[in-house]
């Protein structure tokens, strides 16, 4: 069924598509475009230095109802997490990504945090993850799936805390794709997250926390670690 349809569809498309040159040059053009993966116009707004990008990211993320805290070093992260949870009156039980990048944060400095690792369970209220990149252009987090970064941590809890380092900040989406290509693998999921979950489906009024987290808190670590 599918094979017959496949052949019929492709045959029809090949016969109808209007393009320059012959079959061979068309194949070459397709191959070349994919190989080169050229960029389109990149908005000028993110052509900034590292400091500028951090500020742009914070501004953009805040504009879409994420909250942003800035700390000087990885060591300051646990206290920043604890402060945030206290300020929002949230439980201090966390599900954390088993991400080695989070290891250098000295979590033992915040003993009130009750940390379990792994993928998210339905009952988890707060999760903490790292990020593959921060995209300053729109205040967006790029998170990729992997054994150290299960996707459910991004979607199941009410509150999602993301630790984002200065070294992970880029200006535009295309810069992030370049970084991903360097790793040599395409993960099952690439999530671009821009602010918390929201819906305006009931009488056009916007409310956060439709199905995904209603709180997205980003801890920006200024050091270049």
């Amino acid at each position: 069924m599918s094979k017959a349809s496949r052949d019929a569809i492709l045959g029809k498309l090949r016969g109808s598509a209007i393009r320059d040159g012959d079959e061979a040059s068309a194949r070459a053009a397709v191959k070349a475009r994919i190989k080169t993966h050229a960029r389109g116009t990149i908005p000028a707004r993110s052509k900034l230095d590292r400091k500028g990008l951090m500020n742009l990211f914070a501004e953009q993320a805040t504009a879409v109802d994420a909250t942003v805290a800035r700390v000087a070093a990885a060591d300051d992260v646990p206290a920043a997490v604890a402060d945030y949870l206290r300020g929002e009156n949230l439980p201090t039980t966390l599900r954390m990504a088993p991400d080695p990048r989070l290891d250098d944060c000295s979590w033992d400095k915040a003993p009130m945090l009750d940390i379990a690792y792994g993928k998210a369970e339905p009952a988890d209220q707060v999760t903490v993850t790292g990020a593959f990149a921060g995209i300053a252009e729109t205040g967006t987090l790029m998170l990729i799936s992997g054994p150290e970064s299960p996707t459910t941590l991004n979607f199941l809890p009410d509150t999602h805390i993301v630790v984002l380092r200065a070294s992970e900040m880029v200006g535009a989406y295309e810069d992030a794709w370049d970084r991903l290509r360097v790793t040599g693998r395409m993960p099952r999921n690439v999530n671009f997250i821009t602010g918390p979950s929201r819906s305006g489906d009931i009488e056009q009024t916007l409310h956060l926390g439709a199905h995904g987290p209603r709180r997205l808190h980003v801890i920006l670590v200024e050091d270049d670690g």
Partner: protein, 480 residues
């Protein structure tokens, strides 16, 4: 509710009902204003917006010219990752394919992200007939599913439903919840939906999403949501099925990123949606979560007939909804009046292209060609021109009523013969001016019922310009 039987042939009656529907009119009034302002502001905040429109159009044009090759590439990559690609010639084949996958997975419940292709396929009713329960998870889609309705807008499917109606529906359908609970505000309704649907997400055997884009380079599918429902739909169950029509394909990640800069801005005025997700194959060996199976169902259903034709440009559509948000006709009648899956200007072109001009001939005819749709379309689709092509097809097939065709033919016969025209028009125009009398207008006039049912018809002044120009010996030729 049965498979989406089109009611487009009934458009004038549908429109009449919609115009008289006060609830709908209220929803339309607020929805359209909001969308327009927000899109305008978002476009103004991005200096590169117009350039990106040109580039996005060019990306899609290149892709459509090589669509067979890009689809083959996409398929190779999906299979490399351990996914499956199924090709479906039409809606029936697509439905069977989905059913087969669901049966193999022993599925009882299926969660769904928003997918216009699944509407086009009539999937939900089919699954129900076959003992599988589909659960819409996009809040707007969920609401209309509970109400047994169809979406009236491609981005905000339930904008025609008032808050009071949502309350009524939740009370009626969420029977397992405490009947004394307070649900009055939108916030409370959303929280209740979140709570109810969370259980469905966790219990689903199969998750079905659409795709805004298919990426040839990596074999990825892309969804764009604000709620996160698409992500819970595809991550939690064992099986993830992606439904996509052929033209969703783009070459590279960069190409998708270029176009994505326009999508949310054109749809809701956001710079980016809350969740834009690229999915590539099933879970990897070391992953802790994610589906075990990844299936992409590629649907033709008439698209191959558009490639290489004067209608091809319509396949650049990225489903942002900007055209309908700015259309004065859609703004007066809403989405249901169009009678099939796609409303507004895009529907006026796509519906007749997919289900035929005989069924959907009213849709491209019911336009003033004001051009606003084309002005705001991020992909620069020349919607009025495409509607005109469909009108030409209708004219060739004799679809407009005989009176209209004869009237046009008579007018054209005269218009091609200026001397006869100028003479012939003098008397009827003079007569009309006299009949218009002191008032200078007609409340009613034979043969002009369509006009005078809504407004008076101003009377002519009396003499024609050509006659007046003759009378004063006006210049008829250039002096050089």
């Amino acid at each position: 509710m049965s498979v989406h039987e089109p009611t487009s042939h009934n458009f004038p009656e549908n429109a009449r009902k919609a115009l008289g529907n006060k609830t709908l009119q209220r929803g339309l009034a607020s929805a359209k204003v909001g969308f327009r302002i927000r899109r305008s502001e978002a476009a103004a905040r991005l200096p590169e917006f117009e350039t990106l429109r040109d580039e996005s159009r060019d990306i899609k044009n290149h892709t459509l010219a090589h669509i067979d090759l890009y689809l083959e590439e996409f398929e190779k990559r999906v299979v490399e990752r351990g996914g499956h690609v199924h090709w479906a010639a039409d809606a029936a084949e697509a439905r069977e394919t989905v059913l087969t996958i669901c049966r193999a997975a022993g599925a009882k419940t299926v969660t769904k992200g928003k997918s216009m292709i699944s509407e086009e396929m009539g999937l939900n009713a089919f699954l129900e007939e076959n003992g599988i329960e589909p659960v819409e998870t996009d809040l707007g889609e969920y609401i209309i599913q509970l109400r047994g309705e169809t979406p009236s807008h491609i981005i905000a499917p339930a904008f025609h439903v008032l808050k009071e109606e949502v309350i009524e529906t939740f009370r009626e359908k969420h029977t397992h919840l405490n009947p004394d609970r307070v649900i009055e505000e939108a916030r409370e309704l959303q929280d209740e939906a979140r709570q109810v649907l969370r259980e469905r997400f966790l219990g689903a055997d199969v998750g079905i999403t659409g795709a805004n884009f298919l990426i040839a380079e990596t074999g990825s599918t892309v969804i764009v949501t604000n709620e996160g429902n698409g992500d819970l739909t595809q991550t939690l169950p064992r099986v993830h099925i992606v439904l996509a029509s052929l033209e969703k394909i783009v070459p590279t990640l960069e190409d998708a990123s270029t176009i994505l800069r326009l999508l949310a801005r054109s749809a809701t005025g956001q710079e980016y949606s809350s969740y834009t997700t690229f999915s590539t194959g099933p879970r990897r060996g070391e992953d802790l979560d994610g589906p075990h199976e990844f299936h992409v169902v590629l649907l033709d259903n008439g698209r191959t007939d558009l490639i290489g034709t004067e209608m091809q440009d319509v396949l650049r559509c990225i489903r942002c909804g900007a055209c309908m948000n700015h259309c004065p006709v859609y703004g007066a009648i809403g989405g249901h009046a169009y009678g099939w899956v796609y409303p507004g200007p895009i529907g006026a072109v796509l519906s007749p292209s997919l289900i035929g001009v005989e069924e959907a001939h009213h849709l491209p005819a019911a336009s003033t060609f004001c051009g606003r749709c084309e002005a705001v379309c991020p992909m620069r689709i020349p919607l009025p021109k495409l509607m005109r092509h469909l009108r030409e097809r209708e004219f060739e097939r004799g679809i407009p009523p005989a009176t209209v065709r004869w009237g046009l033919a008579a007018w054209a016969w005269l218009a091609r013969r200026p001397t006869i025209y100028h003479l012939a028009m003098r008397l009827p125009i003079r007569l009309m001016a006299l009949l218009g009398g002191r008032k200078g207008r007609f409340r009613s006039l034979p043969l002009a019922g369509g006009w005078t049912s809504q407004r008076d018809l101003p009377a002519p002044q009396g003499p024609t310009f050509q006659a007046m120009w003759n009378a004063r010996g006006g210049r008829r030729e250039a002096s050089k």
